[in-house]
Symmetry: C2
Subunit: 474 residues, 2 copies
């Protein structure tokens, strides 16, 4: 029988057969809905995690995690002395001051300003958006739109604009060692959009499962799951995912250059082993190269795709190098997959052509390289200040995964992960625990750790974010 909680008029149904991850997600969703729809009014004080956990008969940590997630998302606020409350700006539809736009007088329910945004944000996955190269981007947009033939504005090729595919083929070959031909590149709405298409194609080919890493993005696993593919994690150790257990899976999703979130590169022997497996069995390797532009201390690690373009799908994105809001990502596909993937995308392009043309111009004019170089320098400096601050202020915390990208893994003393995340939430610091990225069937011992996204804050908030982080570390 599902357990139910009806305080505050919120009916909370939890499936007792769900895993702890499932219970946490169910609780988070139900509370978010209650705030969004107004069933939980702004300012309402929530029960303590201890008492709600007791009421529901679930682990206290699960409730604490759900609260922390919702604080990080801005639905709840947590302040010492006043407990956890529904944000005053709820329902949170963050309408900002918007240029010359006027909120129309006929607008029936003017959204209010969200007041519960955390003060500091170290959740990984988002680059420094304040450093988006607005001026250069607008220049590229002007050149692109001025020079585009008018036909470019019509219904387009499902693969995306040829100008962008051509620019990417050259760039990826040069920067990432990808063997790319514009004919076999397809532009998608984020890597998520690409995975949705690949999931549909694998499912249509009869697949039911797909191998993944023990740590990764739940949103990717969910996309594959919704496509009808059960995700099965590979064992994981300090050399990355272990492909030794791959047998007859139709595919495997990996982050070979910089494992997300653990930060290790896939060991050379395992790179070869994965490609051997793919050749032997006809399995497909999905290579998520989300932050391949950003490397610091180590030698460049080229794309796995370069080893075998016929068995590896390369997935890259502008979400980390520029901004997720562009919703522009790309896949370099084995020629044999192109038709099926383009068909799954539908008869026409689904990404706006103006941004595609602008990005093509941005790349070919050299602005992309300049921007990436500047961003690399910024993130490297931040990494150095982070490592230095931690060495001084939190000597018990071990930092790893820092040779590339813009996130780091901070190992914590056993048993402290949740209390640190909770303490951070109280301080208005959004943080993610490593357990957030652990597959429910992960083949690796749990580790108390934080995943710190040091690219996320704007420059002016960086020092404050580091200070807030140091305060909550043991």
């Amino acid at each position: 029988m599902a357990k139910s909680w009806a305080t505050f008029g919120v009916d909370l149904h939890l499936d007792p057969t769900a895993t702890s991850t499932g219970v946490r997600r169910g609780l988070t969703d139900a509370l978010r809905d209650a705030v969004r729809t107004g069933r939980l009014a702004p300012g309402t004080r929530l029960p303590s995690s201890r008492s709600l956990a007791a009421d529901l008969g679930i682990a206290r940590n699960t409730v604490a995690d759900a609260y922390a997630d919702l604080v990080a998302e801005g639905w709840l606020t947590a302040r010492q002395g006043s407990g956890t409350r529904v944000g005053m700006g709820a329902p949170p539809t963050p309408l900002r001051q918007w240029g010359s736009a006027v909120v129309p007088p006929t607008h029936p329910t003017p959204p209010r300003r969200l007041s519960s945004r955390p003060t500091y944000d170290l959740v990984p996955g988002t680059p420094d958006l304040a450093a988006f190269p607005r001026t250069e981007w607008l220049k590229a947009a002007r050149r692109a739109l001025t020079n585009a033939p008018y036909q470019a504005l019509g219904y387009g090729d499902p693969r995306g604009r040829v100008e962008l595919r051509t620019a990417l083929a050259a760039y990826l070959s040069r920067a990432r060692g990808v063997r790319a031909d514009p004919e076999h590149i397809l532009i998608s709405a984020g890597i998520s959009g690409g995975l949705r298409l690949l999931g549909a194609v694998l499912r249509a080919r009869g697949a039911h499962t797909i191998a993944v890493e023990s740590y990764g993005l739940a949103v990717h696993w969910q996309i594959l799951d919704e496509a009808g593919l059960r995700t099965r994690p590979l064992p994981f150790d300090e050399l990355g995912a272990n492909p030794g257990q791959l047998t007859d899976e139709p595919g495997v999703l990996l982050t070979p250059a910089h494992q997300f979130p653990m930060g290790v590169p896939l060991h050379h022997d395992r790179r070869s082993a994965v490609v051997d497996w793919a050749r032997r069995t006809g399995g497909l390797v999905l290579e998520d190269d989300y932050d391949g532009e950003f490397r610091y201390d180590r030698q460049p690690i080229g794309a796995l795709q370069g080893l075998d373009p016929n068995h590896v799908v390369y997935l890259g994105t502008a979400s980390k190098s520029l901004a997720p809001g562009l919703r522009l990502a790309w896949m370099v596909l084995p020629p044999s997959l192109m038709e099926e993937v383009a068909k799954a995308k539908g008869g026409t392009d689904t990404c706006g052509v103006l941004d595609q043309l602008t990005l093509a111009e941005f790349i070919t004019s050299g602005a992309y390289d300049r921007h990436v170089r500047a961003a690399r320098l910024r993130y490297r400096r931040r990494r150095d200040t982070l490592v230095e601050a931690l060495a001084q202020r939190a000597p018990d915390v071990h930092v790893t995964g820092i040779a590339a990208g813009f996130h780091a893994v901070l190992s914590l003393p056993p048993g402290t992960e949740q209390s640190v995340v909770q303490a951070a939430a109280w301080q208005g610091l959004a943080l993610h625990a490593l357990s957030f990225y652990r597959h429910e069937h992960a083949l690796v011992d749990p580790l108390d750790a934080l995943v710190v996204g040091y690219g996320t804050p704007p420059d002016h908030a960086w020092a404050g974010a580091v200070e807030a982080l140091c305060r909550v570390l043991p």
Copy 2:
């Protein structure tokens, strides 16, 4: 047993149980693939439609239709005296002169310029792209990007940017009588993208069929079909679709303001009947208002959604008013559907935020209204010259559906439809027959007619397109 044709190295497998529409699509797809992949080399002469039809044991018209489609798409060329040939630019990846972009020297197979584009294009569905307001759009983009908070560039609300939803709520209320609240608007990648989401939601609710109009867009039917919903056409007459036969369908897709492609508005009594049906049965009305901005002689016809926002989903788009390449459309959803549709869209926005912010600015600054007014005047003038030219040059052709939008239906003498389309293809004029838009189970007598998109050509090609059209009419 499937029939097969192996001339030119092309294996053509046709399912003998398929409908004529299915055979035509299968043939078109197979030939397009053969050209695209190079199995049919540029310049190759295809067999006559008569001899290929005899080889395959299918109707000659089906082959002629497939050839005409491929000529219109630019894969084949048809010239009197030299038969139907594969375009010389094939595989057609239209790379145009591209600003300051340089085709990189490492580019493995530089795409060649497509030489087989038809000289004139009167295929409906695309506005005059040469009239896209580039300067005004760039100004709006500059204001939008300059004023946007940096957080706007991150992973966003699955409904789309609040600035655009707010601007649309006011605009749709004013211009189309839609009862819209920004909270219940969702931005999608074209109306196709919206239908994909709605199809998934209806299917998840257990639906297996959906009612549609006897004439419409095959691509929409296909999207619904792929979502698992069989499309069942309603009877059709001069008052539009007849909703009298609606019973317990979970939904109906209509173009009430301007039936596509027939051009009639849905009769007042039927508008009421559809809404009554929806209220009585809980069925959902999907209102495709693709060209609601463009009306000429008749009184404005407001959106059906205004009659009952709880049972009608309003679908609008920038594809006709601005350009399909923007891939920006919107749905105004009954509040009860919002969560499910947002969930089907996935955890984040899938449309680029920069174009969303720009369109919001474009609307609120008044530029959208100015552009629509200018476009309306342009299309109205074209319509008048078209009607005048036809009255003089083709008195046997009857023109209908001209009170709105930018396409017209030209009724032809019985039995002449295919020969006119074929003759047009020979002249380098891309045209669609009405039969292209007829559902395979349509409940209306077939009619020989053309659907002429008079918005499509740029101004400089308009007179030539009309002349070419008049030459091929009986």
